[in-house]
């Protein structure tokens, strides 16, 4: 799974030569074999490395503040979102929805690596949401739709249909 993400990311970044990856341990943590140095381990680490390689540092944030915000959402993805139980997912969605209320992207107004990896990581959850739930997590749905239509991001994942009109009355219960 993580390997397909990294492949898609490489294509998004326009890297010419695809890298060789393997995985480690029961959790299948991705490993990048590197000719000129030790192997790199971990999805976030490798993804950040690829961004540097492609000379797109703005995707990691162009100020110390931005860099930290991007970093913490990447960490959130691999620590909280991955391997979360059904109950936890509900809380994660609720919190993320709240967070995105006044934001275009995870790091505010700029598209970053955090959006890409969160999108990859949350896709399997959003696919399963009923229309009613998509409406409940309106901000996530809006952000998600935005990212999946961002040129070159979606690649290995099927598109999720987002309805433009609300089907259910908007009253929160």
């Amino acid at each position: 799974m993580a390997l397909r993400e990294l492949n898609s990311l490489e294509r998004f970044l326009g890297l010419k030569k695809p890298n060789k990856y393997s995985t480690q341990g029961g959790k299948k943590v991705p490993v990048l074999q590197n000719n000129n140095g030790p192997a790199l381990i971990g999805l976030v680490t490798i993804a950040s490395h690829l961004v540097h390689e492609a000379q797109r540092p703005e995707l990691l944030g162009d100020s110390a503040e931005q860099r930290a915000v991007v970093q913490q959402w990447l960490e959130h993805r691999v620590t909280r979102l991955d391997n979360s139980s059904k109950e936890e997912v509900k809380v994660i969605l609720k919190d993320l929805n709240q967070y995105l209320e006044d934001k275009v992207y995870l790091a505010g107004n700029d598209f970053t690596l955090a959006d890409i990896l969160m999108y990859y990581g949350i896709h399997h959850i959003v696919v399963e949401l009923a229309v009613q739930e998509k409406e409940r997590y309106l901000n996530i749905t809006r952000w998600f739709d935005h990212i999946q239509h961002y040129p070159g991001v979606r690649h290995h994942l099927p598109p999720v249909v987002v309805l433009r009109n609300r089907v259910y009355p908007s009253g929160h219960h």
Binding site: G42, A64, E65, Q72, E75, S85
Partner: protein, 907 residues
């Protein structure tokens, strides 16, 4: 820029060390663990750094990285990798390990958890020749990893093993002044002790291994891997079948402790009489205790379950005034309401009593005198409001006035409903007597206090022993500990009231015992009203194990205050061994509120037309274990339709139907092959899990095991397709027979494990299968024995569906009705439910004919529209009408339309 930290939070060590080391200027604010600094998070997260641009950094690692970044030490691949490893691998192990060390004293297990990550770190360090993780100099990676490991590695009781490189590096980083300062600030020299509060508040998901069996069950994808031996053993046990098993012992009252038996005394918190209990109250105490009581009886324990209404206090007096009755009449009236509700929920008390009895006075006064004689009572004068016109002191709720904190004009004497703060009645502005509206005056009044500080040492000793050996829920341990930690203060045990147990001293003859002192004694007096030999239960800690069930707000009284009364009375009382406390159940993201008409209250549940067993199932499915949960109508419908109807009910019904339809109602011969044995082993494993969990009062988790069993069963039927095989040759027919026979035996086991949760359904299943009554106790013996209790040739009875679908419309109506917009309507508004199949005896031939014609006509209409390629919405509308007509038709024919639809879907 500002950083928010909390005391004894290990994550703060990282941040404080990074701050010290980089020298970044930043304000620090200490807040409580519960403070929600980051507004978008439901659960509090700390530490948090508020950035100059108003954004919050909530990840300690990102905060550290930021602090290094602005000090010109940019992240590198190497630091990124260590930080990621810390967050994904090390941190989960550290939290789990700390939890074991600090709260459970399991040092060996804690070290085992850390073994893998520490070895990895050792290997990485030993391969390098730099003093620090990434370079010659300290980086953010060193600080983060050191801080994560510090509480464990600095604990003398924690044995990390050899690890020479880790030790060297750990001391090198720890030698930095910044690190020492940070560690001291968070741990205050108390080591892991300082982290207790923090750790107790962590959600269980962060402190338990994801790969342990119970969690795997929750995640839904964790399949237990079976060994060959396990499978053979399971098949062996299964084929032994029912032997001369212990006869089912009838319950004979009075139940008394018996030598050589496990004697279990079970109480659930006494519900306050003048409130109709809501669903949260019901799941919090009586229902949870009932499941455990039923389970214990099936396990053959000698068990007594008592409960009753708590009837004294100001609230009763006020209510009586409102309704123009005497307090006694109010209690009589509402006691009956309670009893009826619990009966409807099938709460099987051995005795449901009340606190306003002679025995209560006797026992409470006896305990009082014993405390008095032993010098555990103090006398003091208290300033109180007195109403001169009513000629009495105004306790608690007899006075109202303006809240001194938030100025809410209708604050009560003990608490403000608006801001929630506790109030001392004399602090109220413009106080008013609730009865005559006169302004009261301040007078002093003499009161008696229980000298808790004098009992503190004894209590602590007892508490250590009880929590060490018994099954106390985490919240109960935590609340009891925090009360002790804050130090105990004397507590007033008397009140200026009429409605209560009288204080038996001349100078206190106008006063009664305060409810918190009096009410728990109700457990004893209620038992005394059940049997004269009550002391065999209550003064017999050698033979009796006591379980108390309650919601968390009741924990202080059961873990600290009441045990102190009993310890001080020095009469060999039975004290609580297992304290089982739930969190709160909310109602659709809000709170239950009687006054606003929000939520379902006990007396309304039966008016919903949803059977009591389904209510029990759903409430137990959501039982707030570990964290609050919320009742939701749509979720209830979902769980009913997906779990009860499509999973459990579907399996049991299919198994029974196959026996009836294909084998004339006789259980066929079973020749087990590997697949069958594997299923038997899987089911047996779930049964063992179920027993392990329920022994530890993990009621909600054990319910998941039941659902897993029927899931396995459904899958087994689905793969083996007996309905096809039955039409094949001899070999196939034999196969169909085996699968059917094994399935119907799994169904029989399900009826057994369901008994504590859904007693009526359990009973119905056994009736349908005509199962021998001994199968119940046999299968729940020891660690769980799954046997073939319905032998080949056994005749089963008539099989019919167990559950009904909850339709969306029905649920919407209920949601509206209990949503608080409209006043709760009377029982006449009960939703119409569909008649049970088999129950619709009177079929009307006229109506059937009429409907058949209508269905044909409507079917034609749809076909014509489709042929004309009419608009989709138009066709759909007609299809809906058609389906509705078909449904009406099958109902009129006496068939249940649901199971038919369901079967079609499964195949």
């Amino acid at each position: 820029m500002k950083v928010y930290i909390s005391d004894g939070n290990p994550h703060c060590i990282k941040v404080l060390a990074a701050l010290e080391l980089t020298g970044v200027k930043c304000d620090t604010e200490v807040v409580s663990h519960e403070e929600r600094v980051v507004p978008h998070f439901t659960h509090p997260v700390l530490p948090v750094l508020l950035l100059p641009d108003g954004q919050h950094l909530f990840s300690p690692n990102s905060i550290c990285q930021y602090l290094f970044d602005i000090s010109s030490q940019n992240p590198t691949d190497a630091t990124n990798q260590w930080l990621e490893w810390e967050a994904t691998n090390l941190q989960p192990a550290v939290l789990q390990s700390l939890h074991m060390v600090a709260l459970q004293g399991k040092h060996v297990e804690a070290a085992a958890v850390m073994k893998e990550p520490l070895n990895w770190l050792e290997q990485s360090l030993s391969r390098k020749n730099t003093p620090f993780l990434t370079t010659e100099a300290v980086s953010v990676a060193d600080i983060v990893l050191w801080a994560a490991l510090y509480p464990l590695l600095s604990d003398s009781g924690f044995d990390a093993g050899e690890l020479r490189s880790v030790r060297g590096w750990f001391e090198r980083v720890g030698g930095l002044k910044a690190c020492q300062t940070a560690a001291h600030r968070v741990l205050q020299g108390k080591g892991v002790e300082a982290l207790k509060t923090f750790l107790q508040k962590l959600p269980a998901t962060q402190t338990q291994r994801r790969d342990s069996p119970t969690n795997a069950n929750e995640a839904g994808d964790g399949e237990h891997v079976m060994t060959e031996e396990e499978i053979e053993e399971a098949a062996q046990v299964w084929s032994e079948g029912l032997k001369a098993s212990p006869a089912v012992t009838e319950r004979k009252h009075p139940i008394l402790p018996q030598e050589g038996k496990r004697n279990v005394l079970l109480t659930s918190a006494l519900p306050y009489v003048n409130n109709v209990p809501h669903l949260g109250n019901i799941i919090g105490c009586v229902l949870s205790a009932d499941v455990f009581a039923r389970y214990g009886r099936l396990r053959g324990w000698n068990l007594l379950y008592v409960c009753g209404t708590d009837e004294y206090g100001t609230a009763t007096e006020n209510k009586a005034r409102e309704e123009g009755l005497t307090p006694q009449e109010i209690c009589d009236k509402y006691h009956a309401v309670h009893a009826e509700i619990y009966q409807w929920f099938q709460i099987d008390f051995d005795f449901f009593g009340r606190t306003t009895t002679e025995r209560q006075t006797e026992i409470a006064q006896d305990i009082f005198w014993r405390l008095h004689e032993r010098g555990f009572l103090l006398e003091d004068t208290v300033e109180q409001l007195r109403c001169e016109s009513c000629q009495r002191f105004l306790a608690d709720r007899f006075v109202e006035g303006e809240c001194p904190h938030c100025r809410y004009p209708e604050a009560r004497g003990d608490q403000c409903d608006k801001c929630g703060r506790l109030i001392n009645a004399v602090e109220l502005r413009n106080p008013q007597c609730k009865v005559c509206k006169e302004t009261p005056v301040i007078r002093s009044s003499k009161h008696l206090f229980l000298n808790l500080p004098k009992l503190e040492d004894e209590l602590e000793q007892w508490l250590d022993k009880s929590t060490g050996s018994g099954d106390w829920t985490a919240n109960a341990r935590h609340i009891a500990r925090s009360w002790l930690r804050d130090g105990l203060k004397p507590r007033c045990i008397t009140r200026d009231l009429v409605w209560g147990t009288p204080v038996p001293r001349q100078e206190y003859k106008e006063k009664v015992f305060y409810v918190w002192f009096d009410a728990p004694i109700g457990y004893l007096s209620i038992t005394a009203n059940y049997t004269d030999q009550w002391e065999k239960w209550w003064k017999n800690p050698q033979q009796v194990e006591l379980y108390n069930f309650m919601a968390k707000d009741n924990v202080p009284f059961h873990s600290v205050v009441f045990p102190c009364s009993l310890l001080g009375a020095q009469d060999n009382y039975t004290l609580v061994n297992h304290l089982v406390a739930t969190e709160y159940l909310n109602y659709e993201d809000t709170k239950f509120s009687k006054s606003r008409g929000v939520g379902v209250f006990g007396d309304m549940a039966k008016d919903t037309g949803i059977p009591s067993d389904v209510w029990r199932f759903y409430l137990l499915y959501l039982r707030p274990e570990g964290q609050d949960s919320a009742f939701s109508w749509s979720d209830m419908a979902l769980k009913n339709n997906s779990e009860l109807l499509n999973n459990l009910g579907n399996f049991i019904n299919r198994a029974g139907m196959f026996v009836s339809k294909f084998f004339d109602g006789r259980v066929p011969e079973m020749l087990l092959n590997e697949d069958d044995k594997r299923l038997i082993a899987q089911v047996r494993w779930e049964l063992k899990q179920y027993i392990q969990l329920l022994d530890k009062v993990r009621i909600r988790d054990a319910l998941k095991c039941i659902l897993n069993i029927s899931r396995h069963g459904n899958q087994y039927i689905q793969v083996n397709e007996p309905w096809k095989k039955i039409k094949g040759g001899d070999g196939d027919r034999q196969r169909a027979g085996t699968v059917t026979g094994v399935s119907v035996n799994v169904a029989c086991l399900l009826s057994v494990v369901l008994e504590p949760y859904m007693p009526s359904v359990s009973q119905t299943i056994r009736q349908q299968l005509q199962a021998p009554p001994t199968c119940v106790s046999t299968m729940l013996q020891n660690t769980g024995t799954f046997i073939c209790s319905l032998r080949a040739g056994h005749c089963i009875g008539t099989v019919s569906p167990l559950f009904q679908k909850l339709e969306n419309e029905q649920i919407e109506v209920l949601r509206k009705r209990f949503g608080g917009q409209q006043t709760p309507s009377s029982s006449s508004a009960a939703v119409e439910t569909k008649p049970r199949s088999g129950a619709a005896q009177d079929t009307d031939p006229e109506r059937v004919k009429q409907l058949t014609a209508l269905v044909a006509e409507q079917g034609n209409k749809v076909r014509v529209l489709k042929a004309q390629k009419a608009e989709k919405s138009v066709i759909e509308k007609e299809v809906v009408t058609l389906l509705d007509l078909k449904k009406q038709l099958s109902l009129a024919e006496g068939k249940n339309p649901e199971p038919a639809a369901q079967k079609g879907k499964k195949k």
